[in-house]
Each structure stands twice: as structure tokens, then as C-alpha cells.
């Protein structure tokens, strides 16, 4: 009896132990070390402009919407759903009710709830953003909101006329200048994130410092050592806090990309972009090549023409220069980062772009045709052309690209061009001044993934920057109509037309390549690669290592 009892209890105990020792969930670590390349000038959502600040705003605050990391589609964040009126001019966003402002005291580590995030906060923030006194640099992206441009430029002075209104605590209504299918994406961008009125009124410019600030996003700011590091800790009152596994993010501020990569190789950073000089080595290394990934990057590198200055006031000359060099060879021999040759201004991933349409004409090197174009323009073999200069802002990378293209034009067109460079701020003044250089280098990165942010915002003759001093009525109409059309298929058609005029028929600028992001990530980090709005670290996981 005793023996049998013992045997049974032993079996029972063993059974319990074995079921308890079944496959456990993956053990997760709770902190991650990242590098933000530079000191963020501010974390004020209405004022943030650079990538570091924008990244931090994503983690500390909440936008009405966000961009899905894989598809770039606009998905809910603070707003759970939205609807538009039949005329396309009124948008209503319905906010979730469980988002709260918190105040974190780094000294005592106490988290105090300060009240719900409401539609009134959204209205306050948007009006503050457009207020000319705030001097937000991204206000222009929001000009689709009714009367916002007039308010921002001082034409009207009553903020009540701006097209944003809180209908009740959890419903906010936007009125737009014209129908715009891409508006929900813009409404969720960082500069429209709700901001807390109380600390702003109390602390002024210093409201963003740790200890003063109120935040509502997945993380809170614990430490901000200027130019040194930022430490963020998980917000326990974030509405999805139970799914946030990384509890502490340490942001180092290492400007020098080779130092940052050395830190990554030494295990001091978990994620790091690969400096272009190290690309070959990383791809060949047995360990690093597995950690390396080419992520999408919604940017295009291009040369602009001054369309009013000879010889580039002549369309044939512009076309000749555009097809007079080998983009793929530039990528293979100079850039080496898996970039892609560009044939349109807007890169792949932008709604409406024909960048990946095989039927859209390619801009490949065609020396014979280029020479013929020059001859037709009155410059056979390049004779008679005035002195031509490529201007770029001082940088080793831009210099190498310019030298390559200079060499190519000499070989393929028989034209010798000069190179000149200027320091960045001086360069911008030159490019946007009255004496824009004949050829100048610029890049454009998407603010939101829609062609409106590209062809219209950059090259429309009156509604855009128009650094290339170009005016084409057909292009302007296609770009403007593309914004207001509501049928996605029609919009794509209009934008394809606009791109063809811009990049191919008129060759008003030279698209060169679409950027990539070359990143190394440690194998124990499970991550996404966001092309817009900052990395969504609240969704990442770090395994124990």
C-alpha cells in the first residue's frame, strides 16, 4: 500500500513537472540601444523637422493615424476610424477614449495621469502649428486644411477660421480646401499630433524638458543629456502597454557614422546604418552579411536644371543630358548600396508613381540618341555650348557622383562641364535665389506617400517650390487635378502624365536614383522598417542575448 501510494504520487509529481516544463514562450529582453545621429533640436511636435525629432515624437506622442510599416497604408492610431463627406471637403475623425496624458518625474519615477487626450487637444495643436508666431517649418504640408495657409502667412488673423474643430471630446472635424484622398495620412503626421496645453502655457519653450513634459505615446522621456544621450521608458498608461515589450530605449548621439558602426560591431548598439565605405566589407563578412538589410527609403536623388538659363532653356539639350550617362553604372561603381536607377521623380512606394511601371519609358544611357538631340538643338558634338557648371553642396559623396556624371558626359556627349560646390546654407541661398545654377543637385524625401507631395509640392510652377524655374501648363494641370480627383485610378493616370512631362518629354530635371537604407540589425532584434514617420519601436521585440 505504502509503496504503491509512493509510486502513484511520484508519477503524479512527474506528470506535473513535465507539463510545467513544456515549450515556454520566447524569453524577451527589455532594453535596446539605438543611435540617433544627432541632437534633436526639439521634441515639440509642432516644431520638429529632422528625422531624430520626428522619431522621438512618434514614440512620445500619438498621431491621429500612422503609416503601416510594411505597406505605407494609413492606419488608425489615436483615431479609430474616420469618414469623409460626399463632396470630399469635410473629414471627421473619431478618437479612442483610452489615450491619456501622463507626467513622468524622473527623480521619483512617478507616473501621474493628467487626463484624457481629447479632440480639443488636437484642435489646439493644429491651430498652434499654423500660428505664424510658432513658425513651424512643416506647416506647408498641412496647407490642404482650409484657410491654414492664409492664417500661417498672416492674411487672416482669427484662428477660428482655420478648418479644424473639435465637435466633442472625441470627435474632431477637418475642412479641406479641395478633396484630397491622402488627407488622413497628413492628419496623422507628427506636426499635427495633439500637444498638452497646460505645460506649454506654464513652461514656454522649456515644456519639452524631462520633468516638465506631458506625453501620451508608448514611451516617456526619462533622461535628455544634450548631445550625449536620451533614455526613454515605457509608459505604463499607454493604451496598448501590455503589448509593448521593450521597456527602455537608450538613444546615443553619435554623429560619426563609422564610430557608430564600430560601436555596433562591439555590441554597444543593437541597430546601425552601414556607412557606404563599409558596404563591401559588410556584404562579404559571414556574420555581418546576415545582419544586413536593404530597407526601402522614400527618397530620390536628382539634378535640377535652371530651365531659364542657356543652354538648358532648350528641351532637346535637357533631354540629351538626361540620357547621356549610365545610372546603373553609377550605382554599381560609385554608390554600391543597392540603389535603383530613377526614371521618375517619385520613387517606388509613393501612391501614383509610375516608377515601377515597365511601360513607362526608362532613362537609360543612349549616347547616339543624345548626340543626335544635341545636334538637333544646334550644338553638334557639343560645339557652341556655353560653359556649364554642376553645383552641389559640399560633401564627399556628392562630389564623387558629380565627378562620375561629369566623366560620363565627356565620354558620351563630348561635353566638358565644370564642378562647383558650396556650403549647405550658402548653397540653398544660391539655388533658391535669382541666379539658380544651370545644374544643381538636390534630393527629396517623402513627407507622406503620395505623388501630391512630389510633383505638386516640389515642381508645380506656383503651388510648389519650383527651384527649377519651370512652367508648363499641362504639367501644372495634371498635378493639381491629381490632387483633387477622388478615383484612385484616375489619380494614377494623371500623375503618370505629369511625371512623363516632367522627367521624359520636357526633361525639366534629371532623376538619378532612388535611395535605399542600408542597415545592420543584431539577430536578436525582431523589427520592422518604417519608411515614414520614424521606427515603430513599440512593436519591436528584443530576445534575450
Amino acid at each position: 500500500m505504502n509503496k504503491r501510494f509512493l509510486l502513484v504520487s511520484l508519477l503524479v509529481i512527474l506528470a506535473m513537472v513535465f507539463t510545467a516544463c513544456g515549450p515556454k514562450g520566447e524569453k524577451l529582453a527589455t532594453s535596446i540601444n539605438m543611435n540617433c545621429l544627432s541632437e534633436p533640436p526639439t521634441h515639440d511636435p509642432n516644431l520638429a523637422t529632422d528625422t531624430t525629432s520626428v522619431q522621438n515624437v512618434h514614440l512620445l506622442y500619438l498621431g491621429l493615424t500612422q503609416f503601416d510599416a510594411k505597406t505605407n497604408e494609413t492606419i488608425p492610431r489615436l483615431a479609430t476610424k474616420w469618414e469623409v463627406s460626399s463632396d470630399g471637403l469635410t473629414w471627421k475623425f473619431f478618437l479612442r477614449k483610452d489615450a491619456v496624458w501622463v507626467h513622468y518625474d524622473p527623480a521619483t519615477k512617478k507616473v501621474t495621469e493628467k487626463g484624457p487626450v481629447t479632440a480639443y487637444d488636437v484642435e489646439y495643436s493644429v491651430k498652434r502649428m499654423f500660428d505664424p508666431v510658432t513658425a513651424s517649418e512643416y506647416a506647408y504640408v498641412g496647407y490642404i486644411v482650409k484657410n491654414s495657409q492664409k492664417f500661417n502667412t498672416g492674411e487672416i488673423t482669427d484662428p477660428a477660421e482655420v478648418g479644424v474643430k473639435a465637435l466633442d471630446a472625441y470627435t474632431v472635424q477637418f475642412t479641406v480646401e479641395e478633396p484630397a484622398g491622402f488627407f488622413p495620412g497628413i492628419a496623422g503626421m507628427w506636426f499635427m499630433n495633439p500637444v498638452p496645453r497646460e505645460p506649454i502655457e506654464k513652461f514656454g519653450d522649456k515644456w519639452v524638458e524631462p520633468g516638465n513634459v506631458w506625453t501620451c505615446g508608448p514611451y516617456m522621456m526619462e533622461t535628455w543629456e544634450h548631445s550625449n544621450k536620451i533614455i526613454m521608458v515605457k509608459n505604463p498608461k499607454y493604451y496598448d502597454a501590455k503589448n509593448v515589450t521593450i521597456e527602455k530605449i537608450t538613444w546615443y548621439m553619435v554623429n560619426e557614422e563609422s564610430t557608430a558602426f564600430a560601436m555596433y560591431e562591439n555590441g554597444e548598439l543593437d541597430v546601425c546604418p552601414v556607412p557606404s565605405a563599409d558596404l563591401d566589407r559588410v556584404k562579404a563578412d559571414s556574420v555581418l552579411s546576415k545582419e544586413y538589410y536593404q530597407a526601402p527609403n522614400l527618397c530620390t536623388y536628382y539634378y535640377g536644371f535652371n530651365n531659364t538659363k542657356p543652354p538648358f532653356d532648350n528641351k532637346l539639350v535637357r533631354q540629351a543630358f538626361s540620357i547621356g550617362f549610365d545610372r546603373q553604372k553609377l550605382i554599381d561603381t560609385v554608390l554600391k548600396g543597392g540603389q535603383r536607377p530613377a526614371k521618375t521623380f517619385a520613387c517606388p512606394g509613393i501612391f501614383g508613381t509610375p516608377a515601377e511601371d515597365p511601360n513607362f519609358p526608362a532613362l537609360t544611357l543612349d549616347a547616339a540618341k543624345a548626340k543626335q538631340l544635341l545636334a538637333d538643338a544646334g550644338y553638334p558634338d557639343g560645339k557652341g555650348l556655353p560653359e556649364i557648371t554642376i553645383m552641389y553642396n559640399t560633401s564627399e559623396g556628392h562630389k564623387r557622383i558629380a565627378e562620375f556624371i561629369q566623366q560620363q558626359w565627356k565620354e558620351n556627349l563630348g561635353v566638358e562641364v565644370k564642378l562647383a560646390n558650396q556650403e549647405w546654407a550658402t548653397y540653398l541661398k544660391t539655388v533658391y535665389g535669382p541666379d539658380t545654377p544651370q545644374i544643381f543637385r538636390l534630393g527629396w524625401c517623402a513627407d507622406y506617400p503620395d505623388e501630391d507631395n512630389w510633383v505638386r509640392a516640389v515642381f508645380h510652377s506656383t503651388k510648389g517650390e519650383n527651384s527649377i524655374k519651370w512652367s508648363n501648363a499641362e504639367f501644372d494641370k495634371a498635378a493639381a487635378d491629381g490632387a483633387s480627383a477622388s478615383d484612385p485610378a484616375k489619380r494614377k493616370e494623371l500623375y503618370a502624365k505629369a511625371e512623363k512631362i516632367l522627367a521624359i518629354d520636357e526633361a525639366a530635371m534629371i532623376p538619378i536614383y532612388y535611395y535605399t537604407r542600408n542597415v545592420c540589425t543584431k539577430p536578436y532584434v525582431e523589427r520592422t522598417y518604417s519608411a515614414l514617420g520614424g521606427e515603430q519601436i513599440e512593436n519591436w521585440k528584443v530576445k534575450v542575448h
Binding site: P132, H226, E256, E268, W424
Partner: protein
């Protein structure tokens, strides 16, 4: 002596005024401004920002207001690039770090350079001399921008003795201090050697030896003290340069010092920071030179100030 010091200190004021005036004029003459952006701001927004920073007033008035604020409140103004931070706060946060690094680098330079120079001088034209001077040539020729990554590659990535970059713990201070100090140590070494060679041939050294003093006393108390005068001369500007921050080493080792601000303030056209850093450097230079001049009086009793 005291009158001399006070007089020198009083002279600092016109010097600083002159420097501030020249810097102000130069920085406003450069094209571009603090609000030049890749996507140009609407003119009204830019006008607002200019008004906020007092830049809509005529230049002479801006300059006078700037000087008045420094003299009355010791306020160097706001940073235009980093909203919510003033130049005073930038100094307070970053100058101590640069100073720490600079002092360490100077110590490294002296600890390596002076003995190197002495040994090379005493054992002139022997193997020690050639070794010492080769080290000096290496130190002078290899720039910071090469030495820094080299040190990281060998000692951090290779041997794993030190972290790659950053600031805050003693182990993070070693590599940057070395990278910064080696260059100066080479200069000090060569100068010490040349100076010592000259001094040990002097009559008073022979007298000291013939008095029966030990070689060590002769070298340290008599020779080195006089040989040190040229070295002290360069220590002044060297100290000022090291302590106010060196851009390259701070970049490579990600050290949150002042060095970066000297450069980035100009590219950002952050006028108050440009002025602040220029004046800071000037103050350090003036004080360092004064300290050097006073040291002369101790090194060489023949030098007297009235």
C-alpha cells in the same frame, strides 16, 4: 607683479570687444541665415522668427543690445538652432566635458612629451634619441582623424580593453585623451629636446656639475627649469585650444563637448552661439597667455614685470 596682472586683465576688455565686433560683422556678412531651409519658409513666418530674435532691428543696434546683455546680465542670448536652450546653458552643459578632456589630453602630452624630450636630449644621437624622435615624428604627422579610428580599431575592437565611444566613465576617457594628447606630446617632446640641448651646453650647467651636485639635481633644478621656457610659451595657446574643445576627436569619440558647437554654429548660422564660442575661446586664450607669462617669472628670475 599684482599691478601687472590687473593691467593685463583690464586689457582683456578692449580685446574682447574688438573680437566680438569683428566676429559679428563677419558672421552677418556670410550669405544665408539661421532660417535658411531646404524648403524655404513662407516670408511671413521668417519675418516672425526674425522679430522673435530681435533680428529685425538695424545691425548696430543688435550688436549693442548683444553686448549690453552680456555686460549687465552675463546672458549670451538664445540658441537659434535649438529652441529652448540658451548659449549659457550650452556652455554649462558642454564646457566642463571639453575642459575635462582637454586637461587630460594636456596631462598626457606633458607626461609623454617632457620625459621623451629630456631622454632624447641627454642621450643625444644614441638609439634612445632616434627612438624618441621617431615617436615624435609619428605623433606630429599622424592627424587626429587617423589616430582616433586607429586607437578604436586596436584597443576597442581588437583588444576590447576600452569602449568604442562616449563619455562619462573613466574607461571612456582613455582613448580620446590619447588621441588628442599624442599630437601635442610630440610637439612638446621635440621642443623640450631642442631646448635642453641648448641649455646643457651653458656655462652654468658646467658650474653646477663642478659644484658636485648630483646629475639629477643639475638636470631637473637647473637645466629643465630654463629649458622649459619655450615649452611654457606654447602651453598657453595649446591649453586654450584643448580645453575649449576639439571638433575632430569629439566627433570620432561621440563626446558631448563644445568642439562641435564651434563648427555647427557657423554652418547653422546660429549667431549667438557663434559669438559665444568665439568670445569663450578668446577669454581662454587671454587667461592662458597671462598664466604663461606669470610662469616665466618663476622659471627665470631675471624676468620681472612692473
Amino acid at each position: 607683479m599684482l599691478r601687472y596682472i590687473i593691467r593685463r586683465l583690464l586689457w582683456t576688455i578692449p580685446v574682447l570687444l574688438f573680437i566680438s565686433l569683428v566676429t559679428f560683422a563677419l558672421v552677418h556678412a556670410v550669405p544665408g541665415g539661421p532660417f535658411t531651409r531646404e524648403k524655404p519658409l513662407p516670408p511671413e513666418v521668417e519675418a516672425n522668427m526674425r522679430r522673435y530674435y530681435g533680428m529685425d532691428k538695424p545691425l548696430p543696434q543688435q550688436y549693442l543690445q548683444y553686448v549690453a546683455k552680456i555686460v549687465t546680465k552675463f546672458d549670451f542670448g538664445p540658441s537659434m538652432q535649438q529652441r529652448g536652450r540658451t548659449v549659457n546653458e550650452i556652455f554649462k552643459a558642454h564646457l566642463p566635458i571639453s575642459a575635462q578632456l582637454g586637461v587630460l589630453a594636456l596631462l598626457v602630452a606633458l607626461i609623454i612629451g617632457v620625459p621623451l624630450g629630456i631622454v632624447s636630449a641627454l642621450k643625444q644621437n644614441t638609439g634612445w634619441d632616434y627612438l624618441g624622435m621617431s615617436v615624435a615624428v609619428f605623433g606630429v604627422s599622424v592627424p587626429n582623424i587617423v589616430l582616433g579610428p586607429l586607437l578604436i580599431w586596436i584597443f576597442a575592437l581588437g583588444l576590447g580593453w576600452f569602449p568604442v565611444a562616449g563619455w562619462g566613465t573613466p574607461e571612456k576617457m582613455v582613448l580620446p585623451a590619447l588621441a588628442l594628447g599624442v599630437n601635442s606630446s610630440a610637439i612638446i617632446g621635440r621642443l623640450t629636446r631642442a631646448s635642453m640641448l641648448q641649455v646643457i651646453r651653458e656655462d652654468y650647467i658646467r658650474t653646477a656639475r663642478s659644484k658636485g651636485l648630483s646629475e639629477r639635481v643639475v638636470m631637473i633644478r637647473h637645466a629643465l627649469k630654463n629649458a622649459f621656457i619655450p615649452v611654457a610659451t606654447i602651453l598657453g595657446p595649446m591649453f586654450a585650444a584643448l580645453v575649449t574643445g576639439t571638433f575632430v576627436v569629439e566627433q570620432i569619440f561621440a563626446i558631448p563637448g563644445m568642439g562641435k558647437y564651434f563648427i555647427t554654429s557657423v554652418t547653422n548660422r546660429d549667431y549667438p552661439v557663434v559669438m559665444g564660442t568665439a568670445l569663450l575661446y578668446a577669454v581662454f586664450l587671454v587667461i592662458a597667455n597671462l598664466a604663461v607669462d606669470i610662469t616665466y617669472a618663476f622659471l627665470d628670475p631675471r624676468i620681472r614685470y612692473t
